[in-house]
């Protein structure tokens, strides 16, 4: 479904993504892991058109989509959440999800100005759909609240509901469980599994919570310094010495450095 070939993204001298190749087959829950600064978020930004690659190809269903703007990729069925929340804080919870539903709505200006029956049917259906999604992520009671009144964990789930409202074919989740407690993390794991199994969405997630990754992902890609370090099943990755070195080795060195300084 998604194939990345020789993908490069440089910021001046920083090689955030430095020649990455991988393939994400249709269906399944996939993970991209790696230490801080490995280039995971940059990779998501490239795949969703937020950033243009310096070089390389991004094939979606065989078509090279590298460099297209986000709205064009959204129309192809790519949706995402953000590591640093990008919620519409000037709107209500329900309205946030309705913006996620944008591409499925009747959007004619005359229909909106004069509230034609067709327009009202489209809006009513969208509201039902959005309320159903909010119930699914556990935010039903908050739907008429301004988004800026929600706690952090709820905003993370609001972003997931907004992304799901587009009925994407490919869903990218950037650290969906960051800042969540154990119970919330479990709920998010269940939600991700259900989105894959029931809705048939292909999910790719970036996550530092290894337990979540090992529990829900069938396929893991490890990035380090903008390059692919390893790829395989949860068990293969857990036992891969290069991965252990990248995580533990660095932590050990930093610890030694801090202790020495």
């Amino acid at each position: 479904m998604l194939e990345v070939r020789g993908l490069v993204c440089h910021f001046g001298g920083v090689r955030a993504v430095d020649g990455v190749d991988f393939t994400i087959p249709e269906r399944g829950v996939h993970a991209i892991i790696g230490p801080n600064g490995a280039g995971k978020t940059t990779l998501f930004n490239l795949v969703t058109g937020v950033l243009r690659p310096t070089a390389g190809e991004i094939l979606f269903h065989g078509e090279n989509v590298a460099g297209r703007p986000p709205e064009a990729l959204a129309r192809l069925g790519i949706s995402r959440t953000f590591q640093n929340l990008r919620v519409f804080f000037n709107m209500t919870v329900l309205e946030n999800v309705l913006v996620g539903r944008h591409l499925h709505l009747y959007r004619g200006a005359l229909g909106a100005l004069f509230r034609t029956p067709r327009f009202r049917r489209s809006e009513a259906a969208a509201r039902d759909f959005a309320e159903h999604l909010l119930a699914r992520v556990g935010l039903a009671d908050w739907r008429h609240r301004p988004a800026d009144s929600l706690p952090y964990g709820a905003l993370k789930r609001l972003e997931i509901a907004r992304a799901l409202a587009a009925e994407p074919r490919l869903l990218l989740l950037d650290e969906p469980a960051a800042g969540c407690n154990e119970a919330e993390t479990r709920e998010i794991a269940e939600l991700i599994a259900a989105v894959e199994a029931e809705d048939g969405v292909t999910v790719v997630l970036v996550e530092h919570d290894m337990q979540l990754v090992m529990n829900v992902c069938d396929h893991i890609i490890v990035l380090d310094h903008g390059r692919k370090l390893a790829e395989g099943t949860a068990r293969e990755i857990r036992e891969d010495p290069r991965v252990i070195e990248a995580y533990l080795g660095r932590a050990a060195r930093e610890f030694a450095h801090a202790a020495g300084g």
Partner: protein, 313 residues
């Protein structure tokens, strides 16, 4: 204005105020002032969609007001067209011109629209002053009365009623647009532009659409004004008039439809009653704009609404 009920409530309050005002302020002079308030308010409700929701500034909206006014004046008085048809012609011309200007400019980021509309407004007012044959030049030209199917619109009360109904209709349309995928998309761009685009929102297209709509509304108000005043000068299309419209929207409150109406009312009515205001209009407009930016950056109505909501509970 999020829930449908609050939209209807706002409209009902506006309707009640529009009915009660002429009873509270009787007399021809007061009615004429109120009619002028209504005409400015129509322009501001449209302009607020552009400034408050699309986040763009037009420094030339009096140009569209002038195009509507002179389309009515020239086509009706000189060419004998039916006034309604002339009004529609003015609206179509304004809309086309707005589209031609906005399409290439809004694709760029930043405040280029302000520059382009500034230029457009200046060109329109120069053309109106120079084409003496057609427009009477700086001295102005007379405008025939507004007639539909042989009926003539005369008298201050009939004019007031026409403008009041128009204002209600434009307010209704504006509130409808704000509470639609288009209005939500524009508000989402303010909240988090990247996220809006990832949701599939084509921001440029909506900005163009709102600009065209606001130009058409200004043109409509200009046509009404021409027939109501009966005499038209290029000042109505001038830079000062454009600045007045922007100041009204900023004072009343950006992204607040009712704020735009309040701003239009204050800045139209005050100069009529306070002659000081009339003599130093340039200075005072600038002062009002600066004071609003410094002390009430969100504008009158949103600030007061928040205060009332807080003290109410």
């Amino acid at each position: 204005m999020r829930l449908p009920s609050s939209r209807h409530l706002g409209l009902a309050v506006l309707a009640a105020v529009l009915v009660l005002l002429p009873l509270a302020l009787p007399g021809t002079y007061a009615l004429d002032v109120l009619t002028n308030v209504g005409i400015a308010a129509i322009v501001c409700v449209g302009l607020n969609l552009l400034i408050g929701y699309a986040g763009q500034i037009s420094l030339g909206h009096a140009g569209f007001f002038g195009i509507g006014a002179y389309a009515s004046a020239i086509l009706v008085t000189n060419e004998g067209w039916p006034p309604l048809l002339a009004m529609l012609a003015g609206m179509a011309l304004s809309g086309l011109l707005a589209f031609a200007v906005a399409r290439p400019i809004l694709a760029l980021r930043g405040h280029y629209l302000a520059m382009a509309t500034l230029g457009l407004g200046i060109i329109v007012s120069i053309v109106l002053s120079q084409e003496v044959e057609l427009t009477g030049g700086p001295d102005g030209m007379p405008v025939d009365p507004f007639t539909v199917a042989g009926l003539e619109l005369t008298g201050p009360l009939a004019w007031y009623a026409t403008v009041a109904v128009s204002l209600l209709a434009v307010t209704w349309l504006s509130l409808n647009l704000v509470d639609s995928p288009i209005g939500r998309a524009l508000r989402a761009v303010h909240g988090a532009e990247i996220a809006a685009r990832v949701c599939g929102v084509d921001t440029t297209a909506y900005k163009v659409m709102v600009f065209v709509l606001s130009a058409v509304i200004a043109s409509y108000a200009g046509s009404l004004y021409a027939h109501f005043a009966g005499w038209l000068t290029p000042d109505e299309a001038g830079f000062l008039r454009s600045i007045q419209f922007v100041t009204m929207v900023v004072l009343g409150g950006m992204a607040s439809t009712f704020g735009a109406i309040v701003g239009a009312a204050l800045l139209t009515a005050l100069p009529q009653f306070l002659t000081v205001f009339h003599d130093y209009e340039h200075v005072l407009l600038g002062a009002v704009m600066m004071a609003t930016m410094i002390f009430l950056p969100r504008g009158l109505v949103p600030t007061l609404a928040t205060r009332c909501a807080r003290s109410g509970g």
